[in-house]
């Protein structure tokens, strides 16, 4: 069996598990995992396949959450239109910030995205629409397409699973498309990609917009699930968290970021009572992952599997 078939088999198995999961695990926790799994997978598209480390992805996640919460709660949009509005807003934001950020490489790219995200954060803090420190609370879940009642956790779970599957499929298809191959070429050797005639900046921008849009989709969905958009979603700690999830699961692996997201959410859930130690634990996981298993969980397993097959 070759690598790609194995990958598809693993994903199909995981999908079946996800279908059955809400009968075993608390559905809201599962939905939180799915939202963050999508967020991390979207982030991974940039760091894992283009080699660009964004330290500002919270602006897409949080920004979209605010737009969805505002359109649904204040303007009375149905949930599907609210999610669409949030996702589109994230796409526009990603286009505007991407044009600026891709002007610098490497470490500067990380600092530029972090600073741009901090700007969005201050906007969320000061703007009259966002409720300042309180955020937008009590967002109605409503009825999707006018008939699916989302106030039922189990129903909402399957809607979230459908959104996650859609987003994940988009990412999977992107990675395995000719476009994705060009992205990998840019990651491996940018000057060579340029000399082969690829407009590297346009490819980077497209990847940035796609990644930001899907991160926005995750944030919008989260706003409906928790009926809340808050400053936490847009703060730099959130950008750091998604970096951690992706790093732990495996940079540049297909399912790694989702695995990392699930583990970090479980960890937060377990250590909820420990307060500030959550921050310390996350820091320790960061340091250990960088020092001991840089490929991440999925990456190390894949490397192990290749070694065995030889």
């Amino acid at each position: 069996m070759n690598g790609k078939n194995l990958e598809v088999l693993v994903m199909a198995g995981l999908f079946v598990l996800l279908l059955a999961a809400p009968f075993v695990v608390y559905p809201v926790l599962m939905m939180q995992m799915l939202c963050f799994a999508l967020f991390a997978s979207a982030f991974n598209l940039l760091i894992g396949y283009v080699g660009l480390l964004s330290f500002g992805h919270a602006m897409f996640f949080g920004g979209a959450a605010y737009i969805t919460a505002h359109t649904v709660k204040v303007m009375g949009f149905p949930p599907e239109a609210g999610i669409l509005a949030g996702t589109l807003a994230a796409a526009v934001l990603a286009l505007a910030t991407g044009v600026l950020a891709i002007r610098r490489q490497g470490i500067y790219f990380a600092m530029v995205t972090l600073a741009l995200a901090q700007m969005v954060y201050f906007y969320c803090l000061q703007s009259p629409y966002t409720g300042g420190e309180d955020g937008i609370q009590g967002v109605p879940r409503g009825r999707m397409f006018g008939m699916i009642d989302l106030s039922n956790d189990l129903t909402l779970y399957y809607v979230v699973l459908a959104i996650f599957t859609f987003g994940f499929f988009v990412i999977y298809r992107t990675i395995h498309s000719p476009f994705g191959q060009v992205l990998k070429a840019i990651r491996e050797n940018e000057p060579r990609a340029i000399s082969l005639g690829y407009r590297v900046d346009q490819y980077k921008l497209m990847a940035f917009v796609l990644s930001g849009t899907l991160a926005g989709l995750a944030g919008s969905t989260k706003a409906i699930v928790f009926q809340l958009a808050s400053l936490t979603d847009a703060a730099w700690q959130m950008s750091g968290e998604v970096v951690l999830m992706t790093l732990l699961g495996g940079l540049g692996t297909v399912i790694g970021p989702a695995v990392g997201a699930i583990l970090i959410i479980l960890m937060q859930e377990k250590f909820k009572t420990l307060g500030d130690w959550v921050l310390v634990t996350q820091g320790v996981v960061f340091v250990l992952t960088v020092l001991l298993f840089r490929k991440g969980i999925a990456g190390e397993i894949a490397a192990y599997a290749t070694r065995i097959r030889r």
Partner: protein, 293 residues
């Protein structure tokens, strides 16, 4: 008294002094980042946390040992610098062969650990630190608080001394040479790994020093580093890390601009540095003092 664009000169000059003292911290921190980046090719994300540590060590020295500010000004950079030395020896030195991004990720993790420990121990509400130089100098057109004046002058001297050491002395020549070709410098019999360790320790000590200077101005809190470091990153992007003098100038200049914004359009004072960063990225992507690659 005359008015300037509808603003009383007292308020204007007061904000200029506040802006300049903020600029002094930007300059000290971005200088430390630039020195570390120049030698180690690592962006030290823990820089803000180390600045916060500096303020806390000064507070601890005063509270638990009764040592005054002036003693802290000497002791703290040594303590925080030694902490940096330990980090470099134990952790960072293992990553030099890898992509620069791993250094960033490692120091980000360290920043979370340091901040979490201090938050657990001291909470997030600020601890006061008594001003060692109370009072102000009446200049007629404004009152200059002694301490702010001292902080600006002191950090300016430290910045210029660092610039002189790196650009004009023999030690600085070794450093610059090791930045360009570490292998050749090593072959000349200079201990490059030790230089890397000491450079990191020195950059971290600068952050600690900035922390001591900041303690009497801002309240000492575990959060003081993380909010500042993001602005300092923007300062570094604006200035470019290629030039030592450039990062000093950019730091002070942006502090000044921020102070002016507070006078003329307060809501934008949080974001003005980021807006300038956007403009610089559009017009001169390599930064004001950077060289195009």
């Amino acid at each position: 008294m005359f008015e300037l664009l509808g603003v009383a000169p007292q308020a204007l000059f007061a904000q200029l002094i506040v802006g300049l003292s903020n600029g002094a911290f930007y300059a000290l921190l971005s200088l430390g980042l630039a020195v570390i980046f120049g030698m180690l090719n690592v962006i030290n994300f823990a820089h803000g946390a180390q600045y916060m540590m500096g303020a806390f060590v000064a507070w601890m020295l005063l509270t638990y040992a009764g040592l005054p500010f002036w003693a802290a000004l000497v002791i703290v950079p040594i303590v925080v610098g030694a902490f940096g030395l330990l980090i470099e020896k134990l952790l960072l030195s293992r990553l030099y062969q890898l992509d620069h991004l791993y250094g960033l990720l490692l120091t980000f993790g360290l920043a979370l650990i340091i901040e979490g420990v201090f938050r657990h121990q001291y909470g997030v509400s600020g601890l006061p630190y008594a001003n060692p130089l109370p009072g102000y100098l009446p200049l007629g057109f404004m009152n200059l608080p002694y301490y702010r004046g001292f902080a600006i002058l002191f950090s300016l001297i430290v910045c210029l001394a660092t610039w002189y050491t790196i650009e004009k002395t023999k030690l600085g020549a070794y450093l610059r040479a090791a930045t360009e070709r570490p292998d050749l410098v090593q072959a000349m019999g200079i201990n490059v790994p030790r230089m890397l360790s000491l450079t990191y320790a020195f950059g971290v000590a600068l952050a600690g020093l900035a922390g001591v200077l900041a303690a009497p101005i801002y309240s000492v809190t575990p959060l003081m580093g993380s909010s500042l470091i993001i602005v300092v990153f923007a300062v570094v992007v604006i200035g470019g890390m290629g030039s030592i003098l450039g990062s000093i100038l950019t730091g002070f200049g942006l502090g000044l601009v921020e102070g002016l914004t507070k006078v003329f359009y307060p809501p934008a004072s949080n974001t003005v540095v980021f807006v300038i960063m956007v403009i610089v990225l559009l017009l001169r992507p390599q930064g004001l003092f950077g060289t195009p690659k």
